[in-house]
Structures are given as C-alpha cells and as structure tokens.
C-alpha cells in the first residue's frame, strides 16, 4: 500500500491528508457524484507473473460534469475506464476495488458486483461508451441502421420496428448524418462519419454517463473541432456526465470541467481544467503541457519530457516519474507519493497532486509549479 508514507511529517502548516479512497473521493466530490471508482486494481496476464497496470486507483465523477482523463499512451487511462465497466479484453483481470454508480433515482450499485444479466441490463442504459470510430468498432457485415437499433431492441424488446427505425434516424440526424445513411455499411462511411455513428449509438438509450475514448484522435483538426462542438452541444441538451479520455491535454481545456492526469498507472494530478492548464502543480503535468504549442498567447519553447515511461512489469521503487523529473529529490526514489492536497491546500481544496514537492511548506514548491491565479 502506498498510503503509509505520510506518517512521518506532522508538524507543518499544510499537511497532506492520507491518500485513501475515502479522502480522495471527499476532495473530488462536489456533493452529487455519479460514479465513484475506489481502489481499482487491474492486472494483465493469466500466467504466473501478471503485470499490475493499475494499483488502487480512485476517481470520482460528479453529475453533469465533464472529467478529462489525460496522459501518454499506455498510462492506464483507457484501462481505468474499461476496467471500471468490466470491458477489458483478456488477459485483463480486476483484482480489487469498487465502482459505485449512483443512479438518478438514488440507488447505488457496485458495477463490479453485478451479475451478468444485471450488468447487461445496466450497460448502455445507464452508462455507455463512445469507442474510437476506427474501422474495427463497427460490425462490417451489418448495416449502420441495424447496429443503432439492436441496442434498442436488446433493452426494450417490445419496441416496434417502426419506432426503433425512427429513433435511429433521429439519432443520426442529431449527430449531423443524413438519414439515407441508415442502410449503409461501415466501410462506406468516412472516418468522421463513423465517429459520429459511434456517438449516436452511445446515446441511443439516453444514458446518464458517457465514457468517450479518444473520440477525436483519428480525425483531422477541422473534424475534431466539429465533433467537440457537437459533444458539448449534446451534453448541454441531454445533461449526461462525461469521462473524456485523450492524450491531447489542450483539447480538454475546451471541453472538460475537471482534468485528471495519469502517469504509469496512477493519477498524478486532479484539478479544475483551467487551473490545471494554466497553473500545473505536478512536474509531469507541466512537462506534458509544455509539449503542446499553445493556440493562443505568446509563442513558447517546446520542451517535452526526456526519457520514456517505465516498464509496467518492472516498476521502480518510489515515484514512477522520478527518473524523468527535473525536480527529483532523494526521497522520491524511495517513497511513492500519494494523491493528496497540494501545498496550497487551503486555498485550493479541490486540487489533488501526488508529489513530494507539495509535502512541505508552500514556499518550498518550485516556482514553475507554484503559480497562482493572481500572480
């Protein structure tokens, strides 16, 4: 367990609270959570030596919120989302944790404890996933219309064919696709259209929670913008909550309310989207943001981050970012930091960061990570 490292410091003004799931949830919570992931642990491998890719990760999504989940490829952001909904392909195994879904009507269920038929019933109706609109996400031998309708029939079996068809047309038009595409096959659509079909499909049953997995990655910039606008528009109209997964942090600023940054299977920073973008508190976040040119404002030198992410099967002791961190301390190589309040805890209670730099006085935090809104 990584939470035990905090017991040594006790006499400082701003002490990080221990990193248990309860406390993380408390920090992220605005009072009306829709999804609470607590201590999720995921391993890969049915052999004798599985790799632990997620170790007791916790995350809370509030109702009506758009939470961006960002990080490099392989950091575990998709694994987190798919693990929470039990859609990880083999050889994934969920080794521990809870995933609490708080329904509108007040009931709470742990998705991991649902039996097969309850899980099938809950899927798509309560929470849906917008997969990457790659060629492979749609069944190549079925028409688009039938793929939109089969989810409707599966959950509402008494629906008439006409009603289902009308709904499919409605969904297509909602995402800006002409109704005559209803009978097209997936290979007859362009990449942008396929992505819209994935979005339309996910909204078929008007779920409360939408997980979007890199919905714009495979598209050109113009198409990206259109899709993002449509997503925001749909969210305003239909009121669902979103977990938006991407490696492009600059996108999230436009679309997300809050951002969680992941690195090597852990959440390293969680904050309001604009705050995270303008005033990062974690060295990795800062490095990540410095890798993207800003669309507005003065030109900034692109620095990137030297080195590469660690091999998940051979994780170092201590902080996983230590090797690449410009502010690394001796302590970092020994203790893995926990997600906790920043050194400016009282002024920004909703921010969490997993870094030893914030484990002391505010004055000790390096300047580039200590910027505030009014300075």
């Amino acid at each position: 367990m990584t939470a035990t490292g905090n017991t040594t410091t006790s006499n400082t003004t701003a002490t990080p609270v221990g990193g248990s799931a309860e406390n993380i949830a408390a920090a992220m919570n605005t009072g009306d959570p829709i999804l609470e992931i607590k201590n999720l642990t995921v391993e890969y491998g049915f052999g004798d030596d599985p790799t632990r890719v997620l170790d007791e990760v916790s995350l809370t999504l509030n109702r009506g919120e758009v939470l961006g989940l960002a990080g490099e490829s392989g950091c575990g952001k998709s694994t987190l989302a798919y693990g929470a909904t039990r859609l990880l392909p083999p050889p994934g195994v969920i080794k521990g944790g809870q995933v609490l879904f708080h329904d509108r009507d007040g009931t709470t269920t742990d998705i991991l404890k649902l039996n097969d038929s309850d899980l099938r019933a809950a899927r798509w109706r309560d929470f849906a996933i917008v997969f990457q609109g790659a060629m492979n996400s749609l069944n190549p031998v079925h028409r688009v219309g039938s793929q939109l309708q089969d989810a409707i029939f599966a959950h509402q079996s008494k629906t008439s064919k006409k009603v289902a068809r009308d709904r499919a047309v409605y969904l297509l038009e909602m995402v800006g696709i002409n109704a005559d595409r209803l009978n097209a096959y997936p290979h007859q659509l362009s990449g942008g259209m396929r992505q819209r079909v994935m979005i339309a499909m996910a909204l078929a049953l008007e779920p409360q929670l939408l997980i979007m997995d890199e919905p714009t990655t495979a598209l050109d910039v113009v198409m990206q913008r259109q899709i993002l606008e449509e997503i925001t528009d749909l969210r305003d109209r239909m009121g669902f909550s979103v977990i938006f997964i991407t490696h492009d942090v600059s996108l999230l600023v436009e679309v997300a309310d809050r951002i969680a940054i992941m690195y090597a299977g852990e959440i390293v920073e969680a904050a309001d989207a604009r705050d995270a973008y303008r005033f990062p508190r974690h060295p990795y976040t800062k490095g990540l943001l410095n890798s993207f040119p800003p669309l507005r404002g003065p030109r900034r030198e692109l620095t990137g981050i030297p080195g590469s992410p660690p091999d998940m099967s051979k994780l170092p002791q201590g902080c996983r970012f230590a090797e690449r961190c410009p502010f690394v301390m001796d302590r970092c190589r020994v203790e893995d930091p926990v997600l906790a309040k920043t050194a400016f805890g009282r002024t920004e209670p909703a921010r969490l960061v997993a870094c030893h730099l914030h484990d002391g006085a505010a004055s000790q935090v390096p300047e580039s990570l200590a910027m505030q809104a009014n300075t």
Partner: protein, 326 residues
Amino acid sequence: MRFFIRRGIFYVITAWAAVTINFFLPRMMPGDPITSLLVKYQGQISPDAIQSLRVLFGLDTQDSLWTQYIDYWGQLFRGDLGISFTFFPVPVNQVLSSSLPWTLGLVGIATILSVLIGTAVGMIIGWRRGTKADAVLPVATFFSAVPYFWFGLIAILLFAVTWKIFPAAKGYQPGLIPGWNWEFISSVMYHGTLPALTIVISSVAGWILGMRNMMVTVGSEDYVTVAQAKGLKERTVMVGYAARNAVLPQVSSFALALGFIVGGTLVMEMVFSYPGIGYVLFQAIGAKDYPLMQGSFLVITLSILVMNMLADVVYAFLDPRTRQEG
C-alpha cells in the same frame, strides 16, 4: 461485379490449365501403353474410336504439337473423351455421365452436413473457451489426423460385418432397376448412409477446428467488445457479431478444402464400391485405362471449379465489402 468477373476469368484459366496438363502428360511420360491396348483390342474398335484416341494421346502422328493441341481442344468440345478399356466398348463420356451423379449426391450431402455441423460446433466451442467444451478439441484433432478411407474400413467392420446394420458395398441393392420409385430410392438411401456418415465424421473435425480458431481471433476484435458493451444478449453477440464474421474465411477456405474432400470421397467410394467417379477411377487405375483416368480427372476438376463458383457467390452474399469495389 468486378469480383465475379475476376473470379470468372480465373476459373477459365484454371480449366484451360487442367486441360493442358491432361494434354501434355501422356506425351511426356515414357512408354506407350495405349498402343499395346489397341493391339489387344484390334478388330473390335471402330476407326473413329482409334482416331479419337490418336488425337487424345498423340499416337504415331507426324503433326506438330500445336496441331495436336488444336485437334485436342476440338475433340473435347465435341465431348469425345475416347473409349474406355475397362468398360469396353463404352465411351468414356458415357461412363462418366452415369457415375457423376452418384458422386455429386454423396459429396453434396456429406459436405453440407459436415459444414453445418462443424461450423455450429466450432462456433460454440470457440465462444466458450476455458469451459468443458474444450474437451472436444483433442477428439477432433485425432479425427482429422486419420485418412477418410480408414474410417470407412472401420465403419464397415463395425456396422456391416460385426453388427449387420448397413450394407458394406454398392450404391443400391443389386438387381433393382434404377427408377423414380420408392423401392429404388430407399435402397439408395440405405446404401448411402454409411459412406456419407463416414465422410461427415472424418471431415467435420477440420471445420470444427477452423471455425474455433476463427472465433477466438474474431472474439478479440473491437466490434465484439462494443457489442458486449451495448448489453446485447449473449447469443446475439456470438452469432450476429462473432460467428457472422468468423465464417467468412471459412467460406473462402472451403474452396481449398473442397479438393481434399472430393479426394477423400473418391477413395471412400473405392472402399464401399460405391458407383461414383471414384470407383470408376479406381477400376481404371487397376486396368491402366488411361482414357478413363484422364477423362475422370477432367470431369472432377471441372466439377470442383463449378462448386468453387458457387462458394464465391455465397461469399459475396455474406460479405458486403466484396459487392462494392474492385
């Protein structure tokens, strides 16, 4: 459409290749068995028959190879494949036309059953990996490693000799006159059961294993995960998403498998003395009846080409991607 045109051209070229092989083989082999047979049957063969054999086998002719080739094609188009020495003096094309329907019936029924059963079983086993259903695999492997005809022998031993349930040979009760009456047809069905059953049992294993592997491969495609994420019923995902895609390579490998199945059926006919082309070929080999052997090869190959074309039609029907582009 372009798909069909391409395939059509391919089949025409293949047919041409088969005919050309048939043309060159006797001319490349050492020795000349035809001439000795002609001597043996001298006086009993009509001059026309001798001439047709000359064209087919290139006997004592001064013509250039090219002229012979043209004459060969001309004769084939008239349907003249020579005289059979095994069934002297019946012409080859007559022998073949009376035996072909038997083979087609046997192969057709056995293959359809085998494909349907094998695909269904393979689908279920491939989907339910890690359960007791996997026990079928070693059994199927064993069955696919044994030559068809050996199964036929065992079947005869068990069901015709030891427990006299089925007849051991022939296509119908000897003495019956072929006709569209119940007596004849029931006799055909009765005699055909054991051969067909044996072919099905020996070939079904290959389909099971092939379909199972494809189900495992397709099962990890994204659209199957999407289907599960949509909360669709288990059967819908297994059949409509996984199997529907897994079956495609099976259809195209059907064409390759066909040669093997037909070969196996031919030998099976030999074991059961079933009156199809296989049995005819068997007798031709024993008698060194080259006209009949070559005629059989040609007819068998052309039949397989036709069956391949049917498989292509089925494939185009199943996979919308082929119907579209070029």
